[in-house]
């Protein structure tokens, strides 16, 4: 039997990752200053803090509705490219698990896959473009493979988490195709993509939360 997560779990995880993002201000801003314009942390932090502020309301919703509300909040609070990409992704995840009060491991994987597909479509970006997709895409692929091969929940989530971390690390040697880093002569080679790093934080915290609090 797979684990099952509810909106309460998801919002608990959101609170954990929001704290991690909040605390890593200087690190994220430094990464962004190297390739972007230095505002990634400000915007993503504003988005996650708005989710923290809406936690009580979000916890009481069916998870499909919570995803939708998260999407609307992120779209309007983060702004910029990240806002619409995260917002669109959560709206896509909401549709992918329509009608669900809670979701199991397979459905979580489906939701994450819907998110990465929406980001790729909307942002006209692919893996290898040095974006947050480089953390999420390999995590989703790993998740699908682990589910297909019947790997146990704990091991699956450990693999997913590692794939996201490795994916973010791999952006160091990539050339940016999208966003501000793409205007640099060296296309940001040698620097981690801050969007991929904050995405890997999310996958990491989500997996850790489920391993530590949901799986018995």
């Amino acid at each position: 039997m797979s684990f099952v997560i509810t909106s309460k779990d998801y919002i608990n995880y959101i609170n954990i990752v929001s704290k991690k993002i909040y605390e890593d201000r200087d690190y994220i801003t430094d990464l962004d200053a190297a390739t972007g314009d230095g505002d990634h942390w400000t915007n993503i932090n504003m988005g996650f803090q708005s989710l923290v502020g809406a936690s009580d309301e979000l916890r009481e919703m069916p998870i499909c509705e919570a995803f939708k509300k998260i999407g609307m909040l992120m779209m309007s609070k983060i702004g910029g490219s990240s806002g619409i990409l995260y917002g669109g992704a959560y709206l896509a995840a909401s549709k992918a698990v329509a009608g669900k009060e809670s979701i199991d491991s397979q459905e979580l994987c489906t939701a994450l896959e819907a998110m990465v597909n929406d980001m790729m479509m909307r942002g006209k970006a692919k893996p290898g473009h040095k974006t947050m997709i480089d953390a999420l895409y390999p995590a989703v692929q790993t998740y699908k493979e682990a589910l297909a091969s019947g790997t146990d929940d704990k091991k699956t989530l450990e693999l997913v988490k590692q794939a996201a971390i490795d994916g973010a690390e791999a952006t160091r040697n990539m050339e940016a195709v999208k966003g501000r880093a793409s205007y640099q002569t060296n296309k940001g080679v040698g620097h981690l993509d801050p969007g991929a790093v904050t995405m890997s934080y999310q996958i990491e915290c989500l997996c850790d939360y489920i391993i530590n609090n949901v799986i018995n």
Binding site: T29, D37, G38, D39, K77, G83
Partner: protein, 329 residues
């Protein structure tokens, strides 16, 4: 950081409130929406809106007025506004003949404005858009995001705004905006970095004696970093790159010398004095010139040159009366 602010989180709303108080011809939408629109709404006219991240003042709120924009939508500093804000701008500008959105070519702006257009469509408001990509520092490419939109955007506001004021249809206003985009080229350079209020320190360093040719209006790296030279050499570099990209020789042009926020008008006029000599020497006839801070980058020092190739039709629209807080013809 030394800035005249209260709280970095409130700079956009407080700035727009001040702008509206100083200019009674426009109204402010309210905190969290961040739209400036005309107080007197004209009926049965194509609406023209623009917007983007803040930090480029007077763009875009300063261009709301007769003969120019109907509404401007502001995002956070250097960050695209979200679709809900843009939708509010569209509604403010709509009087039944549709709304043209003038978008600068940054992926965030393009995605957010496109989604706002879809939302407007689902509410029965017709919209269309054009994307400004005048910065010749960046290679024109379909593979990457391609050329950025910079100061040339002001000419697109002017031409589209005049066309809409004259009662033209959405299709006609769009075609004229696109013609302006096709005919306009810009090239800039920076001398100092800028500081985002929420970040508090410069995003990059530039040596005391260095300039960066081709730097973008968000501090995006340019094409070359070099020792600062005299005004005539700098003018030659910027204009040269524009003329390498597009054939202006033998044509009439409108010229814009745009300050990035931290460069005195004295230097902008000295710079224009050199640009004028180069253009005249190349057989390019200057029809009209604008010198000032039109599309800034916070306190960044530096400037850009924009050339717009004109024909009879564009001249008439450029000369059409315009009365916006930051642009009067």
């Amino acid at each position: 950081m030394k800035k005249i602010i209260n709280n970095p989180d409130n700079v956009v709303s407080e700035m727009l409130q001040g702008l509206a108080k100083a200019n009674p011809s426009v109204v402010y939408s309210g905190v969290g929406i961040e739209v400036i629109s005309r107080k007197e709404k004209k009926q049965n006219k194509v609406g023209v809106i623009s917007g983007g991240g803040s930090g480029h003042e007077p763009a875009h709120a300063g261009y709301v007025g007769y003969g120019m924009l109907d509404a401007a939508v502001a995002g956070n500093v250097f960050t695209s506004p979200s679709p809900d804000r843009i939708l509010e701008g569209i509604k403010q500008a709509d009087s039944g003949k549709g709304v043209l959105m003038i978008i600068k070519n940054y992926s965030g702006d393009v995605m957010n404005f496109q989604m706002a257009g879809e939302l407007a469509g689902s509410e029965g408001i017709k919209t269309d858009y054009v994307i400004v990509r005048d910065d010749v520092a960046v290679p024109d490419s379909t593979y990457s995001t391609g050329r950025r939109g910079i100061a040339g955007t002001i000419f697109v506001h002017k031409i589209a705004g005049a066309a809409a004021e004259q009662g033209k249809s959405l299709e006609e206003v769009k075609a004229l905006a696109q013609k302006t985009i096709d005919n306009v080229r810009s090239m800039g350079m920076a001398m100092t970095p800028c500081i985002l209020p929420a970040v508090g320190r410069p995003g990059f360093e530039l040596g005391e004696d260095e300039v960066e040719i081709g730097m973008g209006i968000h501090g995006e790296p340019g094409v070359n970093r070099e020792k600062i030279s005299q005004a005539k050499e700098l003018a030659g570099k910027l204009v040269g790159r524009i003329l390498d990209d597009y054939e202006f020789t033998g044509n009439e042009v409108a010229v814009m010398i745009n300050g990035l926020g931290g460069t005195p008008l004295m230097e902008l006029y000295i710079f224009y004095n050199e640009v004028e000599k180069i253009l005249t020497e190349k057989g390019i006839k200057i029809y009209r010139t604008f010198v000032g801070n039109y599309m800034t980058s916070l306190e960044m020092a530096g400037c850009s040159v924009t050339l717009l190739k004109l024909d009879r039709e564009l001249k008439d629209l450029l000369d059409f009366r315009c009365d916006a807080p930051a642009f009067r013809v």
